[in-house]
Amino acid sequence: MDDRYLWDRTGPPDPEVARLEETLGRLRHRGQLPQPPRRRSFPPRRLIAAAAVAAAAVIVAAALGALWIARCDRGFEWRIERLEGEPIVGSTPVSQAARLPVGGSIETNGVSRARLGIGRIAQITIAPNSRVRLVRSRPTEQRLALERGKISANISAPPRIFFVQTPSALAVDLGCSYTLEVDEAGTGLLRVETGWVAFERGGRESIVPAGAVCATRPQTGPGTPYYEDSTPAFRRALGAIDSGSREAGDLSTLLSEARRQDGLTLWHLLAGGRGTDRERVRARLAQLVPPPAGVTREGVLRGDRKMLERWRGELDGMPLLPSEGLLRSFWRRLRFRLAAAR
């Protein structure tokens, strides 16, 4: 018997097989592909297990870090070092080195100087005829009060941990070195050498970059920051505007004398100002420092903070200051603890 046709359709066709093929062929499969459910691709079990172990380790580390940060306010010792003369802590002259407690003050006379610091992360030099009080010492906040005189601060801790309050404004360190002086009347002057300092009072904030100065007055708070190398006419006009003794032509002088880097001053006038002059300031600032895409005239004049902050980011030497979330806050505190521990 020749079964080749039955086997693989070679050889002479078997009529009976061919007839069965034809008859039964009508029962052949003609179905449609099923639509399988969308599969989520799961990683292999070993990967899942490894990820779970890693996540657990991160959680434990974070918890330990949080405990470590929260554990103590102690450990942040402000140490006093005598530089010249006999500085006084409370009523006790400092001969060599001493500790400044929270609430305590250090005072220098006309011939004495001192240095105040926490390890390597904050060094404050206190000039003659100054008085500085330690208001608060916590992992997240180190606050001094400069009641009179002059200090030079050199801060290498993360931003927004060191604060120096004056009678008319609060200097917030954003990572920098600067000098701050306050006279008997409470008028202050901030001069930034490196980095940035925020000068704040009552919700009003001036960001002062390196090379710029900013005055503060008891009645009006922080003024408008400006670069010391701006033209005398520019500085005179700004002084008149800030003190409220502005005369006709002062704004025109200020706008015409402004250079690109004086965009710093114009931006602060625009962000904090009111009235019809804002349009003139905006137009001049747009000439000197074009606003980024999406920052509109209407939005800026309306006082849209996001638009103003985006424009501020275009100014020479200005930092990007993102809003601080929980994770960023935790990280900042952790870094501070690590820095203080060194």
Partner: protein, 177 residues
Amino acid sequence: MTVGPDEASEETGWVEAARRGDRQAFERLYSRYAAMVHGILLARVPRIDVEDLVQEVFLTVFRRVGALRRPEAFPGWLAAIARNRATDHCRRLPKTEPLSEDSAGEDPAETEAREILSQIRALPEAYRETLVLRLVEGMTGPEIAARTGLTPGSVRVNLCRGMARLKEMLGRRQSHG
């Protein structure tokens, strides 16, 4: 028609891709194996249920292919799923005398096909699956061997002996009719 090593290699690639969730690879496997699954089921369960069961078998494959360790074992694995599904289905069927399907108004060729299929189903299991794959699904002996995982020799023997038995049964039916 023969099944060569290239085809087997190509198929291994499809299985590996299907294991990663590649729907196109799954479609290719379906195109190649749907007839085999249909034939395995048709040899065992009522025809009316076969299409639904084919769908169920491939959905099972889609869900479980990730657990298949050796892609080259796919054909035998798939055939086993189809056979097990057919067994489960028959076990769940009510134990009643099947009603004869009403053939009034039906195409005579369709009626004849159904009757021949019922004769094939009366054959021993080894013969009926091979004959359905050959005569209904149109697969050749080498294709049946490659797709089901049986040896070519077994398939050839099953085809010859099954065909002889079928001819004998059909001859008896004709002489009685």
